[in-house]
């Protein structure tokens, strides 16, 4: 198959960080090329270099064998390269048409914009993905999955020969992931080159043809996916082998830690009742948009509710009082890391102690030594990768940011942990660490709710699984009889209608 893009000894240095430090890679048409590496290995940076967002420090990019230099995203678009970035890269207040054509609007002979043509083209492209949304819909009214689909339409709209997807499935549900795979395969058949970035190995083995592994910004190896095993890849990524993904444990279930009774928020979730026991890991599975996050936010008290009650032990938790939930030992790791989890411009230390400031303070004044000690302890536990604990969190890679959020909540010494997608976007090594850590905590008698859209994770970690669909609890499985097909079946149900309207 023909080589479309080739990178040779590409380097990208930021002040104090060598994000890319000699990467060589070959991207061929009609191939799905997996780009893998730990958090902070430089994958997203590579995407930005290829799309002209960042300029190169040194090295050469070849397109069709000729060296090119991308001064701006326009150049790379002109060369037929499109990307779906890891960060939110849409315009929420603009319509679908605009999101697709921003940067390369269609114009009439007069120079004015040709809205009719753009709408027609949008409908046509959406048709190719069998999407039925009005082109005039504002993106802020779309679901997460729909937004991803629009991003792909956007890539199609410039007739891209290379489409780069930076963790496209991180916030998609299984059904949508399947649809995405279909689409990727279709594109591959049409001769498009796909670069696929993911931390999920099942995914890589299912969809990718070739791979390149990065470590610390350096090229480590490449080859055909068929020739390697998970263990090989993990060894290349981390420089060492990984024991296992899910910890072995023998749960001892204790008394009731959390009781939710007929909790409801109109149009979001209805009639939710369940109990959580000490020492238990309770998995929550469902499709994206099933309302799990909203439910957890309501339990924790950062979202209102229209009825029902929540008890932690004997105490009833009131709506919109997270302080009360925290006083009862509840910790909540939210799903949206950048929006809800970290304070990007504050240091690792300040982020880590934010939820437990009282504990590290005397007379209302935080003690810097205590803070540093607490942070150091937690950073070690999660093997946080940072040049200094005084570094701002914004300078960390996504996965390392997630570790900071976990540290923050662990510092509150909780008894009940609500984890909403705790391993989203983090690499295998860290994922395993998080898993074993969840296991440890449960064994110590903590009560844990694990919300995850990754079926393997839910099944591998949970003592009991609750399935939500369209805002309601629809099924419950014990560890012993939780089979993948049944759990998934319950989540999808007979109808697969979208919540909303």
């Amino acid at each position: 198959m023909a080589e479309v893009v080739r990178l040779e000894d590409v380097r990208k240095y930021f002040p104090g960080v060598k994000a890319l430090d000699g990467v060589t890679m070959s991207i061929r048409s009609g191939e799905v090329h997996a780009l893998i590496g730990e958090n902070g290995a430089g994958k997203s940076t590579l995407v930005k270099v290829l799309t002209g967002v960042h300029s190169l420090t040194s090295g050469t990019v070849y397109v069709d064998g000729a060296p090119v230099s991308f001064r701006s995203p326009h150049d790379s678009q002109a060369a037929g390269i499109a990307a779906i970035h890891q960060e939110a890269s849409m315009f929420p207040n603009l319509t679908i048409v605009e999101n697709i054509f921003m940067g390369h609007h269609l114009r009439k002979a007069s120079g004015l914009l040709d809205w009719a043509a753009m709408k027609t083209r949008t409908r046509e492209l959406c048709g190719r993905l069998s999407l039925k949304i009005s082109p005039d819909t504002l993106v802020r009214d779309l679901s997460v999955a729909q937004r991803h689909q629009i991003e792909i339409v956007k890539a199609l709209s410039i007739d891209a020969r290379v489409i780069i997807m930076d963790e496209p499935t991180a916030s998609l549900s299984l059904k949508e992931i399947k649809e995405l795979y279909e689409l990727v395969r279709k594109l591959r058949e049409a001769g498009t080159a796909i670069v696929f970035i993911s931390h999920k190995f099942e995914e890589i083995f299912e969809i990718a043809d070739t791979y390149t592994v990065l470590r610390d910004g350096k090229y480590v190896g490449d080859g055909r996916v068929g020739d390697v095993t998970t263990d090989d890849l993990v060894r290349m990524m981390a420089g060492a082998a990984l024991d296992r993904l899910f910890p072995e444990r023998t749960p001892t279930i204790g008394g009731i830690a959390l009781r939710v009774q007929s909790l409801r928020q109109a149009g979001v979730f209805e009639d939710i009742s369940f109990e959580l026991h000490k020492g238990e890991v309770l998995g929550f599975f469902g499709l994206v948009g099933a309302g799990r996050s909203e439910l957890m936010q309501s339990i924790f008290g950062v979202r209102g509710r229209d009825g029902g009650s929540v008890f932690a032990g004997a105490a009833e938790l009131k709506a919109l009082r997270p302080q009360q939930a925290m006083a009862e030992g509840i910790a909540f790791v939210p799903e949206d890391r950048q929006e809800q989890g970290v304070i990007l411009d504050m240091s690792i230390v300040e982020n880590t102690t934010l939820a437990s400031l009282k504990a590290v303070s005397r007379f209302g004044f935080p003690n810097r030594k205590t803070e540093l000690a607490t942070t150091e302890r937690l950073a070690k536990r999660f093997s946080l990768r940072a040049s200094s604990l005084r570094q701002v969190v914004a300078a960390l890679s996504g996965g390392n940011q997630q570790k900071v959020v976990l540290s923050k909540w662990l510092a509150t010494e909780p008894r009940i942990l609500i984890l909403d997608e705790p391993t989203r976007g983090i690499d295998v090594g860290t994922k395993a660490a998080v898993h074993s850590f969840i296991g440890e905590l449960a064994d110590q008698g903590y009560a844990i709710i694990l919300v995850s859209s990754e079926l393997h994770e839910v099944l591998g970690m949970s003592d009991r699984v609750l399935v939500m669909k369209e805002g309601r609890l629809v099924a419950e499985f014990d560890r012993d009889n939780a089979e993948a097909e049944q759990v998934l079946g319950a989540a999808i149900g007979a109808t697969t209608a979208q919540r909303g309207a």
Binding site: S55, D345, L354, K358, S387
Partner: protein, 340 residues
């Protein structure tokens, strides 16, 4: 972080720039006017900008949590009016002060309620209440002025500490600045303010009572505006509805020149203190050599803009130096601001 980077960072610290500016202002003024560097003049000049300086303290906190209050000057006018009404009704000085503080507090609380309950951007709300508060003062006073304040009231705004020559307003400012500084930089509360200003959602998800803190800060801002009204009234011993006209933008200028990010989450008390004295003494010095007020306006305006551009240039230069040392041929300017 390398040593050179650390050095560069310290060097371009905003406060460092302001210290340079302040020293520059002193040198310039001293060379231009023989009257500038007299202790009595330096002290007396402060009477004229202490109300605004004091207002800059709570405004700093409001801006750090990502909000703004444009209604302060209107609040001062209203508080002074109420204070005058109290005086006319025969109230004693302490009662007058309480009335002024209470009026300011209520005005601040109304701002808080509208901003937080209806979730309207505070700049929009306080543009409205700016007219509302001053408008109420006009409704009450019409074309009348309130005069005849007791002479003793003058002590607060015009007096000196003990028998010396240290102005009472200046002493109050220093004391308040110390309190605000400790709260902002050393206390748990201050840490929370920074967190809220940087990312209010994440702060709320971390269990911080974001709305309660913001409400408290708007109320505090009103309360301090009430206090500034007491100082101003005591200084001029009369009240008209148009007092403190256009002070809102002057107070905001003090805060942002002090290095407080208008987008919230960044800034220090030292910066604000330095900016208060830089602007105050710059204006005083220039008026000593009788530069027309409009030209003083031009100079302070340029100072504001220059003080922001220069450190940015320094930073870019020093980053370039660091990169050069690492033998990197090219650096992308857009991405170097990650820790700015």
């Amino acid at each position: 972080m390398s040593v050179s980077q650390r050095l560069a960072k310290t060097f371009v610290r905003w406060e460092a720039v302001l210290v340079v500016l302040l020293v520059g202002v002193f040198i310039l003024n001293t060379s231009l006017s023989p009257f500038f560097l007299r202790r009595i003049n330096l002290l007396n000049a402060t009477y004229n900008f202490m109300e605004r300086a004091i207002m800059a303290l709570p405004m700093m906190l409001i801006i750090i949590v990502g909000e703004i209050d444009i209604s302060v000057a209107g609040t001062i006018a209203l508080s002074s009016t109420m204070m005058g009404l109290a005086m006319q009704a025969g109230a004693s000085i302490p009662v007058m002060v309480i009335v002024a503080l209470g009026t300011g507090l209520l005005a601040g609380m109304l701002n808080a309620v509208i901003v937080l309950k209806f979730r309207v951007p505070s700049i929009a709300v306080t543009i409205g209440t700016m007219s509302l508060y001053r408008g109420i003062a006009y409704v009450i006073l019409g074309n009348q002025a309130i005069t005849g304040y007791p002479r003793e009231l003058a002590t607060v705004g015009q007096g000196v500490v003990g028998n010396g020559m240290f102005p009472i307003p200046l002493a109050i400012f220093i004391a308040l600045a110390a309190v605000f500084g400790v709260v902002l930089h050393r206390s748990r509360l201050g840490r929370c303010f920074y967190a809220i200003g940087n990312n209010a959602t994440a702060a709320r998800f971390s269990g911080l009572p974001v709305d309660r803190y913001k409400a408290a800060l708007f109320s505090l801002n009103g309360l301090v505006a009430g206090f500034a009204a007491v100082l101003l009234t005591s200084r001029i011993l009369s009240t008209r509805p148009n007092i403190a006209t256009a002070w809102e933008l002057e107070v905001v200028t003090l805060v942002v020149l002090g290095g407080v990010a208008i987008t919230g989450g960044k800034g220090s008390i030292f910066g604000v203190i330095l900016s208060v004295f830089t602007i105050g003494y710059l204006r005083f010095g220039l008026s000593l050599i009788n530069v027309p007020s409009q030209v003083i306006g031009i100079i302070t305006g340029l100072l504001l803009v220059g003080a922001i551009i220069l450190p940015g240039l320094f930073e870019k230069l020093s980053n370039r130096m660091i990169i050069d040392r690492q033998l990197i041929p090219d650096i992308d300017s857009e991405t170097t601001t990650i820790d700015a």
